[in-house]
């Protein structure tokens, strides 16, 4: 089975570049150049240099002893939360800014939901001295004030988007409109494995550093270069795509993607795209998405601002359809419980996104000797308000019961 992109930009029936003619030349330029650039010696050297010395890679693979005892299996955490800017997002932005430079672009645009990708983009633009414009839904601008300030401190212009529902999907539309209007000097630095071909392939290749490191780190830890399970959360799906990348053809590795179910499947308040969505076109790509019977794209919901995207990367849609990746989901409450469990067992405050991956640990049957890698894609600083609210709502004056 072919799991990677084909010559026409498709993963099976998913993917492609469903873009208006006004974007054709830009997308074509990227399609024709991205592989040549990222496979060149000079790019690889520079990419590696910044990953190591700027982002702090390789990120540790950490054996979570107490969590392992709790679940009766061998759990390893891939610590993407320890990267510069606090998540895996920086892997992608470093890579794409180096591509933008090689294409001679001088102005960078990006979309952001919770602000993590926006901060990671503003960061590398400051690093390279390039102009940076970040589109962010007006509602998100209000909800994520600290990240808006971070971006502005780093020199980015943050433009609140007032169209549509004023959230991530509208910010993405607005970034695409900007690109249509500024085709010559501007590079669109997309934040996930979504959008028209070649973005899904491009971003998964840049994020594949995660599984590249797992190969030698697992060899070191367990004397075998592959695990039995890799569990990652998915919104658009970039940390999942990157951590699955080098294991797609190794069928001894079970790949698990965990979607955000929000208030629960069937409640209408969910971001579980694969579970509840249907095929369609979003942001230039054919994939599975949340839409109504008339083909209008609907607004997803999750407590985690990084997972509430109404679509999913086309490769992940294909991996789900072929059965190569098993999809699980976790609700807001399950994710919160899993987050507190990690805090109390391992002394790590995770972001709400990977808390969904952690929640799946309770839903899968493992044997005692299974090697289970969970991708801890980001840290929890940005989610303090949600965690505090959760504690208050539970009127918990005493420590949280970690066995709940």
């Amino acid at each position: 089975m072919r799991y990677n992109v084909d010559g026409k930009g498709f993963y099976g029936e998913f993917g492609g570049a469903f873009i208006p003619e006004m974007l054709y030349a830009n997308i074509r330029e990227l399609q024709e150049n991205y592989l040549r650039i990222i496979e060149s010696e000079d790019f690889r050297k520079e990419f590696k240099y910044f990953l190591k010395n700027y982002a702090g890679r390789p990120s540790p693979l950490y054996f979570a002893r107490r969590l392992s005892e709790h679940y009766g299996t061998q759990i390893y955490l891939k610590r993407e939360d320890l990267n510069h800017t606090g998540a895996h997002k920086i892997n992608n932005t470093i890579g794409q800014i180096l591509i933008a430079k090689r294409l001679g672009k001088t102005r960078i645009i990006a979309e952001t939901g919770a602000g993590q990708h926006g901060v990671a983009t503003a960061t590398v633009c400051a690093l390279m001295g390039l102009k940076c414009v970040v589109y962010m839904g007006k509602l998100d601008v209000e909800r994520q004030a600290p990240n808006v300030l971070r971006m502005r401190m780093l020199g980015a212009e943050v433009i609140p988007v007032e169209s549509g529902n004023m959230t991530l999907k509208d910010a993405t539309n607005e970034a695409i409109r900007d690109w249509i209007s500024n085709p010559a000097d501007t590079y669109y630095l997309i934040g996930s494995v979504v959008g028209p071909h070649p973005y899904p392939d491009l971003v998964s290749r840049l994020q594949s550093v995660i599984s590249e490191e797992l190969i030698f780190q697992l060899q070191e830890h367990v004397g075998r270069n592959y695990p039995d399970f890799i569990i990652a959360c998915v919104g658009g799906g970039s940390n999942a795509a990157g951590s699955f990348y080098h294991y797609l053809d190794n069928h001894d590795v079970k790949l698990v993607a965990v979607e955000a179910a929000g208030k629960g499947i069937g409640t209408g308040m969910t971001a579980a795209t694969i579970t509840e969505g249907t095929p369609g076109i979003i942001h230039g790509s054919r994939t599975i998405l949340m839409q109504n019977d008339d083909g209008q794209i609907t607004e997803p919901y999750s407590i985690s601002a990084g997972l509430d995207y109404p679509g999913i990367g086309p490769q992940l849609a294909w991996l789900g359809k072929t059965g190569r990746v098993k999809f699980e989901y976790a609700t807001d409450d399950e994710a919160l419980e899993a987050a507190f469990r990690l805090m109390r067992f391992e002394g790590i405050i995770p972001a709400l996104e990977p808390a969904h991956a952690l929640a799946a640990l309770g839903k899968i049957k493992f044997s005692e000797n299974d090697i289970v890698v969970v991708i801890l894609s980001g840290r929890g600083d940005k989610d303090m308000a949600s965690y505090i609210k959760y504690l208050e709502n539970r009127s918990c004056k005493t420590p949280v019961n970690i066995n709940m």
Binding site: P20, E21, I180, S181, I282, D294
Partner: protein
């Protein structure tokens, strides 16, 4: 003969096509606006299918689109509203929209409904020519439906020829690197682009769209092409003045005055 071909073969110059969003300003204003436009003397009408995520459109059409959806507009309802439109309207009618609602409706179902209703052509900016020829052209042919393709200032000559060989009826020539309804007036770069394309001796007629907002820009566009398309400016008028027969007549008269 398809009504679009008939129009362009008639030798008519300065062809005016007007775009508006179905279900805007009111859910059942669609047919009334079409009839008023016909009475006002427009040559062709593009009926917009509202979509939640219109990524090639500027603020004016975005807003009309989201308002139409709030009004309860849908493709199903649109076909219902247009059921008897051909009893009063003889000019070409086109549907313009984005691919996702059409795919959800079903491409074959959509083409069949268009054919039954008397729709002559379709414009789907996010359906690339390559995918169209591979997957959908046969269905369009089966129902005698025209698919109109776009070119933009960044489309290279070789690709313009390819698009000319695939499009039906005419080529929709996007006037600038922008979304709809943003720019006003043409600069030298745009005029050079119009001249370049006009000089290519393409097999299909040209209609210029995006940024045609006044009598001046309409007249200017018609110097290089068979006609031009007005969208955002018309919707702005509907929003401000309302959709009475009189307002629409005045809008068209002002656009066309020599």
């Amino acid at each position: 003969m398809n009504r679009i071909d008939k129009l362009f073969h008639s030798g008519k110059k300065n062809i005016l096509s007007v775009y508006f969003t179905a279900g805007y300003p009111e859910v059942d204003s669609t047919a009334g606006i079409i009839n008023s436009l016909v009475r006002a003397g427009v040559d062709m009408i593009e009926i917009g299918i509202p979509f939640s995520d219109p990524l090639a459109d500027g603020p004016v059409i975005q807003k009309s689109s989201s308002n139409a959806l709030k009004n309860g507009m849908s493709l199903r309802l649109l076909f219902h509203q247009l059921e008897s439109i051909r009893s009063s309207v003889n000019i070409p009618l086109l549907l313009m929209g984005y691919l996702n609602p059409v795919l959800k409706f079903g491409m074959e179902n959509f083409c069949r409904s268009c054919s039954v209703t008397g729709i002559d052509g379709i414009i789907l900016p996010d359906l690339p020519p390559e995918i169209y020829t591979e997957q959908y052209r046969e269905i369009f042919r089966k129902y005698g439906l025209y698919n109109i393709l776009l070119i933009s200032p960044s489309t290279e000559a070789e690709r313009i020829r390819l698009i000319d060989s695939i499009t039906d009826g005419f080529i929709y020539m996007v006037s600038s690197s922008s979304v709809t309804g943003v720019k006003q007036g043409f600069n030298d770069e745009q005029k050079a682009y119009f001249e370049r394309v006009a000089g290519m001796n393409l097999t299909h007629p040209l209609m210029i769209g995006f940024g045609i907002s006044s009598n001046e820009t309409f007249a200017e566009a018609c110097r290089y092409a068979n006609g031009a398309i007005v969208g955002s400016a018309f919707i702005k008028m509907l929003e401000k003045e309302g959709y009475s027969d009189e307002n629409i007549k005045k809008f068209v008269k002002d656009l066309k005055k020599e």
